[in-house]
C-alpha cells in the first residue's frame, strides 16, 4: 500500500468533528482552550485575584482602593486579631483576614503583598520571555558564530545562582521591587531561549521559509512574519510556566530576606515575618500562603490549557483507543506536521499560522478523496 493510499485509508476511517471543519488555526486554538475546564476556571480565579489585589488597597499611593484600611495603618486589635471572615452567613466583618500583632489589617497587607508578588511575576515573565525569544530566535535563525556566542552566554547565565541577584537587590538601599523584577527577568530567560532556538532550528529548514526567501523577503521579515508566528505556541506556554516559577522564586527570595524588603511587603515576606507566630496567630501564616498557591496553581493550569490548545497531538493520543481499536497514531503525526509521513522526531513545535494552516485544509481534502 503506498503512502498516499494508506493515508487516505486511515483518513476515511476517522471522523473529523463537524464543528471543527473550516476553522482558522487561531480559532481552533481558542476553541480548544475554551473547552479546557481547568484552564477556564483558573483564568477566572486568577482574574479575580488580580482585580481584588489591585482595587482593594489601590496602587502606590496614587489611588486609595475601596477597602477601608491601608496596609501600613495600625488599628486597635479587636478580638485578639482573629479573622472575621465567615462564609455562613457570608460576611467580611471588620478584619476578614485578622490583624497582625501590632494591629495592622491583614487583608490589606495580604493584598499589598499579592500586588507586589504579581508585579514581579509579570515583570519576570515579560522581560525573560522577550530576552529569551530574542536570543533563541537569533541563534536559531542565523546559526554559526551568532549561535555559539549566544548559547555560550546562555550557559554562563544558567549557572549564576538567582539567590545572588536577590542579595544584590536586597543589600542596596536604592534598589526597589522594579529592580528586583528586572534583574530576575534578565536571568530567568535561559530555558525559553533554548526552546525557541530548538523551534527555530526546525522551522528554518521548512519549505515556507525557502519560499519566502525566494520571494525576496528580508531576514527580519522571515523571522517576524514567517517563523515567529509558528513558534507562538511554545513561547506562550513557556511564558506562562515561567511566570508560575517566577512567583515561587520571588516569594522564596523574600522569605529568605533577599527579595522584597520592609517597609514594602510581599507574600513571601509576610510568611517569613509571621512563621514564628504559628502557634498564636496561625492565620497570619495561612492567608499569604493560600494566595501564593492559588495564583501559582491557576497559572499552571492556564499553561496546561494553552499547551493542549496549541498542541492537540498530545491530547488526542488516547491509549485506551490505541489499545482497543486499530487506531493510527502516525496519523496524528502527519496531521500535526503537515508533512505526510514525517517521522515523529521532527515535530518539535505545533504549526500554527502561515505554513501550518495547511493542516485543516489537508484534512478536508483527505476526507473528500
Amino acid at each position: 500500500m503506498s503512502q498516499q493510499e494508506r493515508l487516505t485509508d486511515t483518513l476515511d476511517s476517522r471522523e473529523v468533528p463537524e464543528d471543527l471543519k473550516g476553522l482558522s488555526q487561531s480559532a481552533l486554538v481558542r476553541k480548544r482552550f475554551l473547552g479546557h475546564t481547568g484552564a477556564i476556571v483558573s483564568l477566572v480565579v486568577l482574574a479575580f485575584v488580580i482585580v481584588l489585589a489591585v482595587t482593594s488597597v489601590g496602587f502606590g499611593g496614587v489611588w486609595h482602593g475601596w477597602w477601608k484600611y491601608d496596609w501600613k495603618e495600625t488599628t486597635t486589635i479587636l478580638n485578639g486579631g482573629h479573622p472575621t471572615l465567615s462564609l455562613f452567613p457570608p460576611s467580611l466583618g471588620e478584619h476578614p483576614f485578622g490583624q497582625d500583632s501590632i494591629g495592622r489589617d491583614y487583608f490589606a497587607m495580604t493584598m499589598r503583598g499579592a500586588q507586589i508578588s504579581l508585579l514581579v511575576t509579570v515583570m519576570v515573565g515579560l522581560i525573560s520571555g522577550l530576552v529569551g525569544v530574542i536570543v533563541g530566535s537569533l541563534s536559531g535563525f542565523f546559526r554559526g558564530i551568532t549561535e555559539s556566542i549566544l548559547m555560550r552566554f546562555t550557559d554562563i547565565v544558567i549557572i549564576i545562582p538567582l539567590l545572588l541577584l536577590g542579595a544584590v537587590v536586597a543589600f542596596n538601599s536604592k534598589a526597589n521591587v522594579f529592580v528586583l523584577g528586572a534583574l530576575l527577568g534578565l536571568t530567568a530567560w535561559t530555558g525559553m531561549a533554548r526552546l525557541v532556538r530548538g523551534d527555530f532550528l526546525t522551522l528554518r529548514e521548512r519549505e515556507f521559509v525557502d519560499a519566502a526567501r525566494l520571494a525576496g523577503a528580508s531576514n527580519g521579515r522571515i523571522i517576524f512574519k514567517h517563523i515567529l508566528p509558528n513558534a507562538i505556541g511554545v513561547i506562550t506556554v513557556n511564558t506562562t510556566l515561567l511566570m508560575s516559577s517566577a512567583i515561587l522564586l520571588e516569594t522564596a527570595l523574600s522569605y529568605l530576606g533577599m527579595g522584597v524588603r520592609p517597609p514594602d511587603t510581599s507574600l513571601g515576606l509576610l510568611i517569613s515575618e509571621n512563621q514564628s507566630a504559628f502557634q498564636t496567630r496561625p492565620w497570619l501564616f495561612w492567608w499569604p500562603g493560600l494566595f501564593i498557591v492559588v495564583i501559582c496553581l491557576s497559572i499552571n493550569f492556564i499553561g496546561d490549557g494553552l499547551r493542549d490548545a496549541f498542541d492537540p497531538r498530545q491530547k488526542k493520543l488516547v491509549l485506551k483507543r490505541v489499545k482497543e481499536a486499530d487506531y493510527d497514531p502516525l496519523l496524528e503525526a502527519t496531521q500535526a506536521s503537515a508533512l505526510p509521513g514525517a517521522p515523529l522526531s521532527e515535530i518539535v513545535g505545533p504549526p500554527v499560522a502561515a505554513g501550518g494552516a495547511l493542516t485543516t485544509v489537508e484534512l478536508e481534502e483527505g476526507g473528500r478523496r
Binding site: R152, D155, I156, V157, I158, I159, I160, P161, L163, L164, L165, A167, V168, A170, F171, N172, S244, L248, T251, A252, Y255, L256, G257, M258, G268, I271, S272, Q275, F278, F285, G289, I292, V293, C296, L297, N300, F301, D304, Q314, L317, V318, L319, K320, V322, K323, P329, L330, E332, L344, S345
Partner: protein, 511 residues
Amino acid sequence: MASYLLRRLGVSLLILLGASFLVYVLVSVSGDPLAEYRASNKPNKDQLMQQRTELLHLNVPVVGRYFIWLSGAVKCVIPGKCDLGKTISGQPVTDALASAIPSTLQLVTTAILLAIIIGVAIGIVTALRQYSGFDYSVTFVTFLFFSLPSFWVAVLLKEFGAIRFNDFLANPTISVATAVGLGLISGVLWALIIGGTWKRRGITFAIAAVASAAVVIYLGASQWFAYPGLGPVLVAVFGAAIAVGLTVLFAGLQNRRALYSSLIMVGLGIVAMYAVRPLLDRSSTNIWTIVVLGILAVGAGLLVGWLMGGYDRGQSMKAASLTSFLVAGLVLLDRYMISWPQYVSITNGRPIGTIGAATPNLQGDFWITGLDKFSHLVLPTIALLLISLASYTRYSRASMLEVMGQDYVRTARAKGLSERVVVTRHAFRNALIPLATVVAFDIGQLLGGAVITENVFSIRGMGQLFIQGLQRQDPNPVMGFFLVVGITAVAFNLIADLAYSALDPRVRVTA
C-alpha cells in the same frame, strides 16, 4: 568522540571562567564586608577594618581581587593545595565546604532517589490509565505540589510533622473520629487507585475504609505508636505482598516457579529475623554488618531462584533476590522499631527533631544513632520529595504516553506478547531514556543543596553556607559554593548529553 569531549571540556572551562568572574563582581556589588564595622563605635574599629581589608584584599580593585581568588582556586587541580580564601571569621573555605558537602549529600540523595522511584512509578501508572479518575486526581495533585512554595511546606511540616506529632506521641490514643476520617481518606484513595466500574469502586471504597479504620483503631488501642514493631505476622503479610507484586512485574503470575521462589524467600526472611537477632543486638553492630547481611540476602535470593529455576531461571532469580532484599529491609526496620521506645525516652518524649541533622552529644548504639538520623532527616526529606516528585511524575507520564503510541509497541502487541511484557520490556525501558537527561541535570543541581529546606530545618549544608555568606557579606564562601556547584552542574550537563547519545543511538554527538 575524543575531539568532541575535548572541545566540550574546553568550552565548559571557558563558561566556568566567565561565570565565576560575573559572580565575583555580583558578590562584590551585593554587600560591603566592612559594613558591620563602619556602623560600630568600637575603640579598635580602625584596626579591625584594617585586618579584614587585608584578609579579603579589599584594597585591591574587584578585577584584581578576582585574579587573586582565581590563582588560589586554580591550585585546586593539585590535591591538598586548594586555596579558596578564608571566611570573615578566618576559617578556610575549603574546610567549610568539606563539612557542608556531606551533610547536603546526606539530605538530598535520599530525597532525590525516592522522588525518582515514586515519581516514575506514579507517572507510568497514570500514563497506562490515561484520562481515568486516577489520572486526573494525580494530575491535579502534581500541579498542586508544583505550586507549593517550598518554605511554606517546610514550615507546615515542622508544625504538623514534628511539633504536633510529638504531642500526639506523648499520648498516642486515636479517637473514633480520627479513625473514621482516616478510613474515609484511605477508602477514596484505594477507590481511585483500583478504579473500574462504579460498583467495583464502591466495594473497594467500603472495604478499604472499614479495614483502614479498624487497623488504625487497633494500632491505637494496642499502644503500637508508643511501642512499634512489625513482628513475624506483619513481615509475612508485607513480604507476601512484595513477593506477589515483584513476581507480577518480573515474571507474571503464571510463572509459578518465580512466585514460589519469592515466597520461599519471605519464609526464609522470617526465619532469618530470629536467626540474626543476636547478631544485630551485639553492641559492635555497624553499617558493614548490615551491608554484609544485605548482600547475603540478595545472594540467597539468587541461589533459590536458580535452584527453583525451570525454563527461565533469570526471572525467578530476579524476583527472588529483590524480594529477599526488600524482606531483609523489613527485618531491619523491625529491629529499628524495637529501639524506638528507648530513643523516645532519650529525647525526652520529643523524637522528631526540627533543628540540625542530629542530636548533639547523643549516646547510644548503632540503632539509636540510626533512629536519630532518621528522625532528623525525615521531615526535610519529605519537604524536598514532595516538590521534586511532581516534575518526575509529569516527565515520566509524558514520556510513557509518547512511547506507548509508537509503532514498535503495536508490533509487540501484534506478535502476541502479554501486556506485562509490552509494558515492562518494550515501553518502560524506552520511556526511561528521556528521563536519564532530566535525572542527570537534577543530580548536577544536587550539591547546590536545598537552600530553603536547609534554612528552615537549620541543617548546616551547602545552602546554608551560601546564604549565610550572602547575609554576612562574606564573599569567599559564596565563591566556594559557586565553584563546587558550577563545576558539578557543567560536568553533569556533559554527562547528560553523553548518556543520551549512549542510550538512544539515533542521537549522535557531533564533533
